[in-house]
């Protein structure tokens, strides 16, 4: 739970890491994704927990990504994720399709420290046919035929989220987005960007403690104001639909995407975000 700069945080994500990212309604760190683009990260294997959005499209378009495991990639009302779609078509990334509760279940197995966990449903889906690591077994506790899916525990190398604030102890506060705790528990290290660092200890406040991820799980954090933007951050700020729509238009072409990145990741907009 060391405080560092945003660029140092990006340097703590090794090339080739299995990097877990929450979706656009659950505290993704877009600031860290932009810093990874600036650092020229390579070979990242992204995990959408359980789906992927803006940050994933940005990292794919920037050539940082080798593989994506996710249940969907979308820009919400702005439509299909353009750089993801282009990369799938070009065969530039390996795509491992999943379904949302399967990703949650694999992480829940990891947080419990058990090798696998069962999940209902999924049998008969073609997703299963393309997942040799997923197995259907007979329910060992049933006398009747009862096939059930078992999923292996999944331990991301790194998970990255954007929280509202960190305290003097390195605890971070995620409000009602407590699903981020499962991500923290299952991952080997959690990197967090925050709006601000405050005094005190969230765990001594009954109202803040339930939405707190203990410093036990936090490898490092960095201040990045508006670090979720253009995604919403709880009641701090809303979703910037115009920004995402403008990105979606620009990123329809490789050239348009590069110009967008030049301005919004390397240019003045990025300087403001990194201050």
């Amino acid at each position: 739970m060391t405080q560092m700069s945003l660029e140092a945080l990006a340097a703590a994500v090794p090339d080739g890491a299995l990097l877990a990212l929450p979706p656009d309604n659950s505290l993704p760190s877009v600031a860290l994704a932009k810093a990874l683009v600036r650092r020229g990260a390579k070979g990242l294997r992204l995990l959408g927990v359980p789906v992927s959005g803006f940050a994933t499209d940005l990292l794919i378009g920037s050539g940082c990504v080798e593989e994506v495991q996710t249940s969907a990639v979308s820009l919400g009302e702005a439509g299909f994720a353009p750089r993801f779609s282009a990369a799938v078509k070009a065969g530039a990334i390996t795509l491992r399709d999943a379904t949302c509760p399967a990703i949650h279940t694999m992480l829940q197995a990891a947080e419990k420290g058990v090798p696998f966990m069962p999940l209902r449903g999924v049998i008969g889906s073609d997703i299963l046919a393309h997942r040799p690591d997923w197995r259907v077994v007979q329910n060992p506790l049933s006398e009747r035929p009862d096939p059930i899916l078992i999923l292996p525990a999944l331990h991301p190398d790194v998970a990255a989220i954007h929280a509202v604030m960190a305290d003097a102890q390195g605890n971070v506060w995620v409000g009602r987005r407590r699903e981020c705790a499962t991500l923290a528990h299952a991952s080997r290290k959690l990197l967090v960007t925050v709006e601000r660092v405050v005094r005190g200890n969230f765990l001594e406040d009954e109202r803040l403690a339930p939405g707190t991820i203990s410093a036990t799980y936090v490898e490092a954090y960095a201040v990045a104001e508006r670090g979720a933007h253009p995604v919403a951050l709880l009641d701090e700020y809303g979703f910037d639909a115009a920004y995402v729509a403008a990105y979606a238009r620009a990123a329809r072409t490789e050239e348009g995407f590069r110009a967008w990145v030049e301005e919004h990741v390397f240019g003045r907009a990025a300087q403001v975000a990194a201050e």
């Binding site: 309604n25 659950s26 359980p50 789906v51 996710t70 249940s71 969907a72 990639v73 979308s74 919400g76 009302e77 299909f80 994720a81 993801f84 779609s85 799938v88 078509k89 795509l95 399709d97 999943a98 379904t99 949302c100 509760p101 399967a102 949650h104 829940q108 999940l119 209902r120 449903g121 999924v122 049998i123 008969g124 889906s125 073609d126 997703i127 299963l128 393309h130 009747r144 035929p145 009862d146 096939p147 059930i148 009602r176 987005r177 407590r178 699903e179 981020c180 499962t182 919403a232 009641d235 809303g238 639909a241």
Partner: protein
């Protein structure tokens, strides 16, 4: 302010048709319905049921203020696994005559033709909710296909596979189909104004059954229209601002 809306709009007719399916007394009860982000018309149907004073709990996944979940979508799937969600809506880039849905894509795996966003939670929700209403506004041979290129979630399962339910119906911009899981087959229930059996056959890639006389999908009642344009829109404007602006001319509060 918006101009008065005289005519029934297609979105309003679809919402009312979905609301009738939700309230169908022959179907398992819908006490708790979950609705996703990309589903403004299903959300309008659920709010309409609620505003008609029918007892129903709505959990809107993407509601920003007062979101019902404190453990995100993980909690939604756990709730559904427990049997606490009675009805869910699913769509598909492709839907076939056996009610299989494809959110993966067309062509070689994983969508070398057109890649769709992905399966989301469909491969679980379709099994674990007592009923699903399939909804897709586009009704064309490219969407309603004889056989989906890839199965995100199957319409029916072998008897030994645990499954609480499947599709109740498929509602499109042209018609309402009912689904019979025993026969894994759709039957045309009603066509929206301007459509008939021949136009539906021409725009549908799969075979289906039809009665001798196909009724027209009813318009919303005056009471339903007033609710949709008033109380329903009030509830929806925060989560679906673009939809409310387009259909009802309602701007979101700043």
């Amino acid at each position: 302010m918006s101009a008065p809306l005289a005519d029934v709009q297609p979105e309003e007719r679809l919402a009312a048709a979905l609301a009738r399916l939700i309230l169908d007394p022959a179907a398992p009860p819908a006490r708790h319905i979950a609705v996703g982000a990309a589903s403004p018309i299903p959300a309008a149907a659920c709010w309409l049921v609620s505003k008609l004073d029918r007892p129903v709990r709505l959990s809107l996944l993407h509601k920003r203020s007062g979101n019902p979940f404190t453990e995100g979508t993980r909690e939604l799937f756990d709730l559904t696994g427990q049997g606490r969600i009675d009805l869910f809506f699913l769509g598909g880039g492709q839907i076939d005559g056996q009610a299989n849905i494809n959110l993966i894509g067309t062509g070689e795996w994983p969508g070398q033709g057109v890649r769709f966003p992905g399966s989301f939670g469909s491969a679980f929700m379709y099994f674990m909710t007592p009923r699903t209403i399939l909804f897709r506004e586009e009704h064309s041979p490219r969407v309603l296909v004889p056989r989906v290129d890839h199965v995100s979630a199957p319409g029916v399962s072998p008897p030994e596979v645990f499954r609480r339910g499947t599709a109740q119906a498929l509602v499109t911009g042209r018609c309402v189909f009912r689904f019979d899981p025993a026969r894994a087959r759709f039957t045309l229930e009603s066509t929206h104004p301007g459509e008939n059996l021949a136009t539906i056959r021409a725009e549908t890639g799969f075979d289906f059954d039809a009665p001798a006389e196909v009724p027209v999908t009813p318009d919303p009642s005056p009471e339903e229209l007033a609710l949709l344009r008033g109380a329903v829109c009030d509830e929806m404007v925060e989560t679906y601002p673009e939809f409310c602006a387009r259909v009802w001319g309602r701007a979101a509060a700043a």
